[in-house]
């Protein structure tokens, strides 16, 4: 069912808050990865608000949906969304990457706050998502398993092992959203190691695969609805995004992959976000 205008407004508003939290968290931690989560905020918020069945009420229900963040370094945005869901206290967000916090520098599995798996090493997660999807099917649950990945992560060979087996076993309950921003740590992805057309690749591997504008919440929602309706094979949504989206001096800059803004940069970034508040 298509999103109502009110839902669209809510998603856009929440994505804006997620971007603010990402900047606050990375600034407070004095380290971390701001660029990726700023770019992913729109599709991640669409996923978490409109599709992912995860809440305080169903947190411990075994058959609820699962999420695994393949590009684990982008976790600031994920944690901000868990806070939006009421699973993580807002105060805790400011303890990101600090001693004793459950909000580790890369996600660590934590059943109490809804972190479904430990990630951080690129390439490992899609296999795990396939295992989760197989288990749900074995149990006769209608669980959807969502995984986020990225163009850079698609350089890892294990992604394609997992893609092969996901199609072989026809896990229709699995959807991966690939953050395609053409930036990786060492520079422009197409120059470092071009992964080429991921929609074509996933299609060739036997998946239902589509390209979308990762900042268009209506298009992302439609792609997630379509993926839900494809039952005989896994789905890949290639979400084309701009790294650092919303903060002009971070946009399309590989340098903002893993660097925290200083105080002045933080103030400027927050002011720019505030001016563009939906």
């Amino acid at each position: 069912m298509a999103l109502t205008n009110a839902q669209i407004d809510q998603i856009r508003g929440t994505a804006h808050e997620v971007r603010e939290d990402v900047l606050r968290m990375v600034h407070a931690a004095k380290c971390g990865h701001p660029g990726g989560p700023l770019g992913m905020a729109d599709f991640m918020t669409t996923l978490f608000l409109a599709h992912m069945r995860l809440s305080k009420d169903n947190l411990h229900a075994p058959e609820r949906d699962r999420f695994i963040l393949g590009n684990g370094h982008t976790c600031a945005g994920y944690y901000a969304l868990l806070a939006q869901k009421g699973l993580v206290a807002r105060d805790e967000l400011m303890r990101f990457r600090k001693m004793g916090s459950p909000l580790q520098g890369h996600p660590h599995r934590n059943a109490e706050i809804g972190i479904d798996f430990s990630t951080g090493s690129l390439g490992n997660s899609l296999s795990v998502a396939v295992g989760m999807a197989l288990a749900a099917r074995l149990n006769g649950w209608d669980t959807r398993v969502f995984s986020a990945s990225s163009d850079g992560e698609s350089q890892e060979g294990q992604i394609w092992e997992a893609a092969t087996s996901a199609a072989h076993y026809g896990v229709g309950n699995l959807t991966v959203i690939v953050d395609f921003n053409n930036i990786q740590i060492d520079g422009v992805m197409r120059e470092v190691m071009d992964v080429r057309d991921l929609r074509e690749k996933y299609t060739a591997f036997g998946w239902h695969a589509v390209d979308v504008d990762g900042h268009d919440v209506v298009a992302v929602d439609q792609a997630l609805c379509d993926a839900r309706d494809v039952l005989d094979r896994p789905s890949a949504i290639i979400a084309h995004t701009t790294i650092g989206k919303g903060v002009s001096f971070m946009e399309n800059q590989a340098g903002w992959h893993g660097v925290a803004p200083n105080d002045e940069q933080f103030e400027n970034a927050m002011a720019e976000l505030a001016a563009a508040k939906p």
Binding site: R66, V130, Q158
Partner: protein
């Protein structure tokens, strides 16, 4: 001789009569069939070697709970982790070279970090894989697995212990590595034997020197003790099937009672059983030790029966090295 061990450490019951030879991988396949019957949460994965690893029996009996992942060991371990994260007890098998070697990082990140019930049962470990040679003789897996937090490592001495170890793996939460062999090896233990995770077993009393072994080398250690007995030397023989966590009490008692410990394994001595025993001895009861195994070398193609004596891991070689070691006692 008078027993110097606490009353809880009785001699393990040994098999009697004609020596049977069964590979530990056969016992694994048998245990999986039992577990599949008893528990519907048990799921088995393989990487295109189900005939060799002996998971094929399970795949025929419980096809809906068996997933062949193809020649993709890293993906197999990741998939196993995902199944375990949803509550399944997962057995994942391949040759030790690939299960422990190729998929080490996935085992660390996706199994040990989140502490999941993935039981990696790796076959064709060690020199006794024989003619396949260097590329397939996994001699580093104990090291790679025991260094991982939360991972428990078991190397069964024979088919009786292998079956019980696999059942214990299913009953114990968390990651586990079970090292199994291709070759048919003597059945040492009787059917009355009780396996306890984390506990070694005393196979022969003796106070002159202790020989601690694991896997296929346990039978060789018993043979060495027999040779030594003929020379008036009473060697204590320990089966340290659980390498992590090591049985500190049994090792320390052996050090205190015998004054010297020889370890034997078909594995690199760096990081293997010998290393685990040495760490225990150094910390709690320093005595002279000798470590037998592969010393910073790869193997070669030959029948297992020729490789074991070639690398000094047969009964006669062990007995000779035990005598040398005894001369270093204070």
């Amino acid at each position: 001789m008078e027993s110097v061990l606490s009353t809880t450490r009785k001699l393990a019951p040994l098999a009697s009569g004609d020596v049977q030879k069964i590979a530990t991988r056969e016992a694994y396949g048998q245990a999986l069939l039992e577990l599949g019957e008893e528990r519907d949460d048990v799921v088995v994965l393989d990487a295109d070697l189900s005939g060799s690893t002996k998971t094929k029996g399970f795949s025929k009996a419980f096809p809906e709970r068996f997933f062949n992942i193809g020649v993709a060991e890293a993906n197999m371990i990741g998939t196993a982790a995902g199944l375990a994260a949803m509550g399944k007890t997962v057995f994942a098998s391949s040759f030790a070279m690939f299960a422990a070697g190729k998929a080490w990082e996935q085992t660390r990140q996706s199994v040990c970090v989140p502490e999941l019930s993935v039981k990696i049962c790796a076959t064709h470990a060690g020199l006794t894989v024989g003619e396949d040679g260097k590329s397939h003789q996994m001699l580093e897996d104990i090291t790679l697995m025991r260094v991982l937090p939360h991972m428990r490592v078991i190397v069964p001495a024979d088919a009786v212990e292998a079956r019980l170890a696999v059942r214990a793996a299913a009953e114990t939460e968390g990651p586990m590595y079970v090292r199994l062999s291709r070759a048919s090896t003597p059945v040492i233990l009787s059917e009355e034997y009780e396996f306890q995770l984390g506990r070694g077993t005393l196979l022969r009393e003796g106070g002159d020197v202790a020989i601690a072994a694991c896997g296929v080398e346990v039978a060789e250690a018993l043979g060495a003790a027999e040779i030594l007995a003929g020379q008036g030397i009473e060697a204590r023989v320990l089966n340290l099937a659980t390498i992590d966590p090591i049985d500190t009490e049994l090792v320390v008692q052996a050090a205190n009672d015998c004054g010297a410990i020889l370890t034997v394994e078909e594995h690199q001595i760096r990081g293997g059983l010998g290393d685990a025993v040495a760490q225990t001895v150094v910390r709690h009861a320093p005595v002279p030790m000798e470590l037998l195994g592969m010393d910073d070398a790869f193997g070669q193609s030959a029948p297992a029966s020729e490789l074991i004596p070639h690398y000094g891991l047969d009964s006669a070689s062990i007995a000779a090295r035990a005598q040398e070691l005894m001369r270093r006692k204070g």
